[in-house]
Point group: C2
Chain length 477, copies 2
């Protein structure tokens, strides 16, 4: 028996990890229970431990308050029971702003209060590619504006996705099947490593827990195995501050699971995760009922971004259009919109008070498509998405509320209008009297910001270029 | 008393008109009934006559079969009762293809069987402008591809529409109001003249019978006056083969009228019109229930043209998106889409198996905007709409049925795909084996048709330019 705490000093929203040696016989995943209770002043947080193979058991914890935390383990195995100790939680290092949560009903913020404007991208199966390609993906992500990555836990079987993954999540059983009660620690250590790499880059990992594109049986394990798997994933990964839980990609294509199954699975993650990471579920066609209490935000697939404001009203939660089709040129309609169209959709989502996701699917001689495999980007939208992100981050910290038909605003201080396919040659604005405003004409494609001459107040009309795909920003002086 | 038949020889789908002299005293619009029964072989068609002022009563008839027709009048006024006669209906002159009706559930055809591909435009109040401007409008229409014009009977009060009309439909009453029981024959003769001008140009007149943009009281006359007005309009105009009845523009903004009112009014027109001209009702926001039996086709305002195929299924009738917003640069969202966007919407509607309407609203120094006033066109969409019309007329006579996501087809002989914002660099088609096809790549904006080399059969893949807004046409050799 040995006890190994990762460190006795952990930064706020960092990871404290306790390692214990215990039994290797039987099925430790199934036979042994392990919990750890962490205390700080009058607060107690309980986390599930997990078996990591080779007789090693771990419990991970993300402290959310500075100061001294004490802990003690509970187990039905004497070797793991009653281990106690303490560590000190110190202020976070630069760039660590804590986990992202919901703020102001339809927006997000980091736990330290700084705003989070979701600008996501998608590499569904990037952790299942060669290590070299994974490293390349990380280099690309370092140069791009994206602050969230949608990625699957399980490997993917689909068009352009025919190769076997590096690792499998379960240990094999007799007869070429899997033993869903025995996880493959190597798989999960790899997954965690990649989640940690994203954390270092300041990128949220939107972990897709189930998906239908499967040839190995992971999409149809049955309720008992599904629950067992979720508990294990949550025990291992919840302490990573950048984790979001996406219950499924295209849940509605997984016909073996009923709405009641999804409610149970979502509620299970909610119950087991001590930190309340963001939870969502993504559709192919029919939206999930995002009013369910376990759903923290609306993650949808849809190409009409003008409807974001409608969904905000319907669900009263942040709206993230994670898939509005991808920039690319494959022959499928989901993967061949133009860069201009994707940038257009990002802007429509933004002024609708919502958030949009990127993906890229250009034909490639070796079938390496960013959308699933990662690698490098070939398109023209990412730099324009970076431009939008700068504008968002330069705007009101609390995000936008939709106003009128094509605008968003925050208080009376900041207005952002985006005209899309419309090309008005003039616009009249009715702003509160008594304030003075400056007006900029923004070209989202050319990435230019042209201030109009003068200072405006009350009701005023400005001349516009009469070209489509322009925005107007109005800021209180 | 005198009897004056317009001619004893009338072409098929032309107008036979009977003029009778009768009483001038009292209120002839209200006090005198007049009908005429026309017989041809075993068929009898009854039409309503109308008072045209100055003691003249008329009955108009559009014969739909060649040969001898006899007629006799019925009236409660002895001077108008029992006038009988006959005329000969001869073959139509070139360009006269009869009235347009529904064919094959979701398409249109002329009565002579030739197809009608609706390519409409909109000049709501053109007949209420100066005579010079009206003449200019007709000259413009002569040079453009449009084969339908949406136009209001009543004058229009709205932005850019502040002037008084040339004529008023009713005679004034005491106290600055109108006598809704006394029509102004001059107004209606003018209206008929303009409908006749359109007929000469081969343009269908989609007559809007009610609309909400009113300062004279014509939008709120009450049920009795509404019915009386409709009977008069139908009696005067139904014999014009190019008339369509649009019960309202933006019916849902006319809050004084209930759904039951619209059912009654629509059914009244259906009952009084002996020829069954096309009947529709146009929304602002909420669609009317186009399943009602009096509605012959779906006339809607909507900007998502990808939904045309959905509405075809829902209503089982032809879908005409009469307003999908207008090409222009006014500051209102309904009137400032780009020409490219309008052309895009026309193509989306076409491959959805539906039809689309044009309108133009560019700012003008004298506020002459085609959309309402007519005049000249300034935009870039009409020539592209002409190009589309040529392609439609060069295609299958029976029109398209939507197929796949972005295509339409007719039998196995003709396929038209339009990719819109998508830019696939290749496409695979699964066509019936045994036939040989030629493939064209069409650029709807540049108005080019580029045939691909070779002849294709069965399942085949073609390379495409990887640019958005292109179409592919596949025709059986």
């Amino acid at each position: 028996m040995s006890l190994n705490a990762s460190s006795d000093v952990v930064e706020r929203w960092g990871i404290f990890e306790l390692s214990l040696e215990g039994p290797e016989g039987g099925n430790p995943f199934l036979d042994v229970t392990l919990k750890a209770r962490f205390e700080h002043g009058r607060r107690v947080v309980e986390v599930d431990g997990f078996y990591d193979g080779a007789g090693v058991y771990r419990a991970r914890f993300m402290p959310d308050a500075t100061g001294v935390w004490s802990y003690v383990t509970e187990s039905d195995c004497p070797a793991l029971e009653g281990h106690a100790g303490e560590f000190t939680c110190v202020a976070p290092s630069p760039g660590n702003r804590g986990p992202v949560g919901v703020r102001d009903r339809c927006h997000f913020a980091y736990a330290d209060g700084s705003p989070y404007f979701q600008v996501g991208t998608t590499c569904y199966a990037w952790i299942h590619q060669s290590q070299a390609l994974q490293e390349r993906t990380l280099l690309t992500l370092q140069e791009t504006p994206f602050n969230k990555l949608r990625m699957c836990v399980f490997p993917k079987h689909y068009l352009y996705n025919e190769r076997e993954p590096l690792y499998y999540p379960f240990q094999p059983a007799d007869g070429g099947t899997w033993d869903f009660t025995r996880f493959n620690p190597r798989f999960f250590r790899h997954l965690e490593g990649r989640v940690g790499d994203l954390l270092e880059l300041g990128i949220e990992a939107d972990l897709i827990l189930f998906h239908p594109y499967d040839r190995w049986g992971f999409a149809t394990m049955g309720p008992e195995a599904d629950d067992f798997y979720l508990r294990y994933v949550v025990a291992r990964l919840a302490a990573y501050r950048n984790v979001w839980w996406s219950m499924a990609n295209e849940y509605d294509l997984m016909e073996e699971k009923s709405p009641a199954d999804w409610s149970r699975l979502g509620s299970l993650v909610q119950e087991r995760d001590p930190y309340g990471h963001l939870r969502s579920i993504h559709n192919c066609r029919a939206f999930y009922d995002h009013r369910e209490p376990w759903v923290t935000h609306v993650s949808v697939q849809h190409s009409d971004l003008e409807r974001v404001r409608e969904w905000r009203e319907l669900y009263g939660k942040p709206v993230v259009v994670d898939e509005c089709r991808y920039e690319g040129d494959v022959e499928h309609r989901w993967g061949c919109i133009s860069a201009r169209e994707l940038v257009h959709r990002f802007w429509l989502g933004a002024v609708g008070g919502g958030y949009v996701g990127h993906g890229e699917t250009y034909l490639h001689p070796e079938d390496v498509l960013w959308w699933s495999h990662g690698g490098v980007l070939h398109g023209q939208s990412p730099q324009r998405i970076a431009f939008l992100r700068e504008i968002l981050e330069d705007g009101p910290a609390a995000g936008f509320e939709p106003v009128d038909f094509w605008g968003a605003k925050k208080n009376d201080e900041y207005y952002l209008y985006y005209y899309g396919v419309h090309q008005p040659a003039r616009q009249t604005f009715h702003l509160p009297p008594g304030r003075r405003y400056r007006v900029d004409v923004i070209d989202p494609w050319d990435m230019t910001i042209a201030p109009l001459e003068g200072v405006f107040t009350g009701t005023f009309t400005v001349r516009l270029p009469g070209r489509p795909y322009l925005a107007v920003r109005i800021r209180s002086v």
